[in-house]
């Protein structure tokens, strides 16, 4: 930022995956129209999906996935030790994500269902912040490349970073979408953090809350309105559970 009298350095970055689909990391290589400039901001030291070179001198660690094995705990702790900034990257890292559905079933049953007669060691799913300190979270399933770009640019230029505090409804209404409640569906838009540009609801798919709760949500009123609209509370529960983002609120209710 020469006009302010300081220079910007490339960010030494490492990208790591734990229990996940690695789709969020793939987002880093998406959005071709700004990809060259985006990569120009980074000095990629460690990123399995795009380079076979591995270095351990990264400053910023993007950590994708949740923690479901004991060896993952060790690996994560080593990353925490090296990284100056550790970012929980994607809904699995931030909240446990889809993987957490497993936590609602008996462990043996899960292992048997998936691995049959050759069982593997597996623990209840934890989010990254359950294991190590997280400096910043970028939620989403997958993360929005546009938001990642904004955050990376902010870090590179020494600007403070933040996520929208308001819910998806704001962005959804800005797209002139028909409210999914009017179409008879339970949508988590009113309680989910915006920043995705309402991509699902614009495609007429109900929001499942992958970005986690917006700030200061009114969960009680939300639950009431689902009932008042004559919609299924079971459907709501199922959606709330999908990414494991709303556990704290669901506990309040029971």
């Amino acid at each position: 930022m020469q006009h302010l009298g300081f220079s910007t350095n490339k960010l030494k970055i490492g990208s790591f995956d734990f229990t996940c689909c690695e789709g969020c990391q793939l987002q880093l290589a998406n959005k071709e129209e700004t990809l060259p400039e985006f990569l120009d901001l980074l000095d990629i030291r460690n990123f399995r999906e795009i380079s076979s070179e591995r270095f351990d001198d990264y400053d910023i660690a993007l950590v994708e996935g949740s923690i479901s094995r004991s060896d993952e705990v060790e690996r994560l702790q080593a990353i925490r030790k090296q990284a100056k900034i550790l970012i929980a990257y994607g809904s699995c890292a931030c909240f446990g994500g889809v993987n957490s559905l497993k936590n609602h079933f008996p462990p043996d049953e899960c292992v048997h269902e998936v691995y049959g007669d050759s069982p593997v060691e597996t623990l209840p799913v934890r989010r990254i912040s359950d294991v190590v300190k997280v400096d910043f979270s970028i939620p989403g399933c997958p993360v929005s490349k546009d938001e990642v770009e904004r955050i990376v640019v902010s870090i590179a230029t020494g600007a403070m970073i933040s996520l929208p505090k308001y819910p998806v409804c704001v962005e959804c209404k800005q797209q002139l979408n028909t409210c999914l409640f009017d179409l008879g569906e339970v949508c988590l838009g009113p309680i989910t953090r915006a920043g995705c540009n309402a991509v699902c609801t614009t495609g007429k798919t109900a929001c499942l809350g992958c970005r986690g709760p917006a700030e200061d949500i009114n969960y009680r009123s939300f639950r009431e309105l689902v009932k008042e609209h004559g919609l299924s509370l079971d459907e709501m529960e199922e959606k709330l559970r999908f990414y494991n983002c709303f556990e704290e609120f669901r506990d309040d209710e029971s």
């Binding site: 009298g5 640019v153 308001y166 704001v170 028909t178 409640f181 700030e215 009114n218 009680r220 309105l225």
Partner: protein, 359 residues
């Protein structure tokens, strides 16, 4: 203003010619809701066939065409330790067809707020000046209450206004541009009979309102009831989702932010329409929130709409379209909130005289 009459078929040809020649927006059917009712929105139209002239109400207002939800205010170009700022106010001309009187009133209110102060908004001015507006009257929906705020008729703020008088439209021509276009079509001067039919039409509209919201004296009510428990009550229902402000034809509060380009060679200063219901509306750097409660924030939306602010001459900015009431998932609507507020006062138990019976 001059008055003309045009048959509905000829009107359709006239609108079609304008739509085809210009970037045009009008009410379109975009969905069918769970009860089988059509959903309308102001969207781009390419011929008169696409316009739902007999639409009930659009879910969102046409505000976004004048005040885009997101808008770039200016750009910075960085170079060698310095920068240049670029600002553009250019807007391509557009046609906006099918606006109801309340929506045109809403634009007149925005004109007052955004153009008549010490600091007029050039961005809004550019949009407004480049929009050709054709308004159309309609019979109110059961929950419309624009009559209570005197916005069921409109006398300015449009280029052309059409009143339905049976098989033809009674036209109020409010710009020479409109008359120039109309001259290419079969129009006539209103006969005495046409005048009578117009008066009948207006009577019918006036008598069709089913919802009334008593707004007289509301500003002083609101001042007295600043600490009323009803704000807490409705605040407990409010989701802070901002839907009401987004669909509202007059909510204009906004947020600005700056974003540096990915190549670090420039930056963009952007505006986004905001809502006083959103949690960080009054939050300052460092984290202090001047309005931390749901009820406080909800109250402010009502204050802005029914009390008005000193800056815009304390005028009420609500036009009574009830879009916010229809869109609110938590079933918060102006009629109920205002009635509640009046009840609170009028049924007060410590008053020396009994309250008048509510009708």
């Amino acid at each position: 203003m001059i008055y003309k009459v045009i048959s509905k078929e000829e009107f359709s040809r006239f609108v079609d010619a304008l739509i085809r020649e210009n970037c045009s927006y009008g009410p379109r059917e975009v969905d069918t809701d769970r009860h089988g009712n059509p959903v309308y929105q102001f969207r781009r139209v390419h011929s008169a066939d696409e316009v739902a002239f007999d639409y009930t109400a659009t879910h969102s207002s046409a505000k976004h065409l004048m005040l885009p939800y997101r808008e770039e205010l200016s750009r910075f170009r960085f170079s060698e330790g310095d920068w240049e700022q670029d600002i553009e106010y250019r807007v391509k001309p557009r046609l906006l067809v099918g606006l109801r009187p309340c929506d045109i009133s809403a634009l007149n209110i925005l004109d007052d707020v955004l153009l008549n102060g010490k600091f007029p908004s050039p961005y809004y001015l550019a949009q407004r000046k480049n929009t050709f507006i054709i308004g159309m009257d309609h019979l109110p929906l059961p929950d419309c209450f624009c009559q209570s705020l005197n916005h069921h008729t409109v006398t300015k703020g449009f280029n052309l206004f059409c009143s339905d008088i049976g098989d033809s439209y009674y036209l109020s021509v409010n710009s020479s541009k409109a008359l120039t276009y109309l001259k290419n079509f079969a129009i006539g001067d209103p006969t005495h009979e046409d005048d009578c039919r117009l008066i009948e039409r207006r009577k019918l509209i006036k008598q069709s309102f089913q919802t009334e919201v008593e707004v007289t004296g509301l500003p002083s009510f609101l001042d007295i009831e600043f600490d009323s428990p009803i704000w807490q009550k409705w605040g407990d229902k409010c989701l802070n989702c901002g839907t009401c402000a987004m669909v509202c034809p007059t909510c204009y509060c906004y947020d600005t932010s700056e974003r540096i380009d990915t190549d670090l060679e420039g930056a963009s200063r952007q505006k986004q329409l905001y809502s006083c219901n959103l949690v960080d509306f009054a939050e300052v750097a460092g984290g202090h929130n001047f309005r931390p409660g749901n009820g406080d924030r909800l109250k402010y939306r009502y204050y802005h709409h029914y009390r008005g602010f000193a800056e815009n001459a304390n005028q009420q900015i609500c036009v009574g379209c009830n879009r916010c009431g229809r869109a609110c998932l938590a079933d918060i609507n102006p009629k109920d909130v205002i009635n509640d507020l009046r009840m609170e006062k009028e049924s007060c138990m410590i008053c020396v005289s009994p309250s008048p019976p509510r009708t």
